[in-house]
Symmetry: none
Subunit: 210 residues, 2 copies
């Protein structure tokens, strides 16, 4: 399949976007309107280029019949989106065991985030600003991979006194401890064993004001 020009890619993505949002693909005139073409033909030309290059199919004479050629594993939402449960406040024990007060689920684009979602991936709502030094603010949603081996410098979710906290995992003189990325918060040197719930792999923030 031939490569697309940047303009053609725009057209292609607009068509895909509309198909998902509106439920049916745009007409040529709608494409033209979107890109401020004064002529319908500009849209037609682009679509014909996309068809010639093997990206689109259509049924001649039929309104709104544009559809993407299915490339296995490529452009499909199924398989690209993972459903990740949001853990609310206090996970009782093991995160896979029983989850209290979940906020529901986030749907996460695994390709963009480059994560391999397992059954042990979960999300946490950040409270407080103890990780502000790593630009993780209160209200952010962090995606945590459970069971992953933390490396020094990783942000981890740890279980301290039955509470989950987000900290940076660091090793000093062969001994691991948890560092808060905010000088107003104390670091945590573990008494016995360190209870690491998982390693942060991604973050999602919603701009609150709207």
């Amino acid at each position: 399949m031939q490569e697309l020009t940047s303009r053609q890619r725009q057209i292609f993505e607009f068509i895909q976007q509309r198909r998902e949002m509106e439920g049916s693909p745009p007409s040529f005139r709608e494409i033209a309107r979107q890109f401020r073409f004064r002529s319908v033909n500009a849209a037609l030309d682009h679509v014909q280029a996309l068809i010639a290059k093997g990206w689109l199919e259509h049924s001649p004479g039929r309104a709104r019949s544009l559809r993407a050629v299915q490339i296995s594993g490529r452009d499909d939402m199924r398989g690209r989106v993972a459903r990740i449960p949001i853990q609310g406040g206090i996970p009782a024990g093991h995160p896979a065991d029983g989850v209290l007060a979940g906020e529901g689920c986030v749907l996460v684009d695994i390709e963009t985030l480059g994560i391999q979602p397992t059954a042990r991936t979960f999300a946490l709502r950040v409270e407080g600003d103890s990780m502000i030094g790593k630009h993780i603010a209160g209200g952010d949603l962090v995606i945590i991979e459970h069971g992953m081996e933390p490396r020094p410098g990783d942000v981890v979710a740890a279980l301290i006194d039955g509470q989950v906290t987000l900290k940076t995992f660091v090793v000093q003189r062969g001994r691991p401890y948890l560092r808060a990325e905010n000088s107003r918060y104390p670091n945590l040197i573990p008494q016995q064993e360190l209870q690491i719930q998982g390693v942060m792999v991604a973050l999602v923030r919603k701009t609150s004001s709207r």
Copy 2:
């Protein structure tokens, strides 16, 4: 939502089936042909019954605009995930006009992020750390809603010298300007008119190391 008659259910399922197989919903004539109606109106009547009973929606006057009403809380990913194009480097003029080098698309969970994705929503890869004061770091992906009226304090994407930059929109003494959230970067007081591309509504970050 009212119950359907068996005939209406047949029509509804045919529409759904066609949407999945062909990629776009059938026209009234195609419905009529499928059920061997000699009149298009038979199909119209059924569809209007389905709309009245709350099973279908459509945009008046638009070809093939039939779509099933989303049932909230259902285990359906379609309708909860929006495809947002990632704009690469330098939009020339209007964001709908010319955008170069797209990186592809992000799939975004509209329910979690609370955004209403329109065709004018796009994503930008953040370069540099000029917005670090708002905890937006380089490499982050920000979701921008174009055409939204910026309010003071909002993070906006603005067009400066043909380059897109992310800044905080502020108004001082009745005059708007753009503030960088990093003391090493200058604020921008617009010479003429301020070219606001859109307002940031969400942010997605991938933890880079893995």
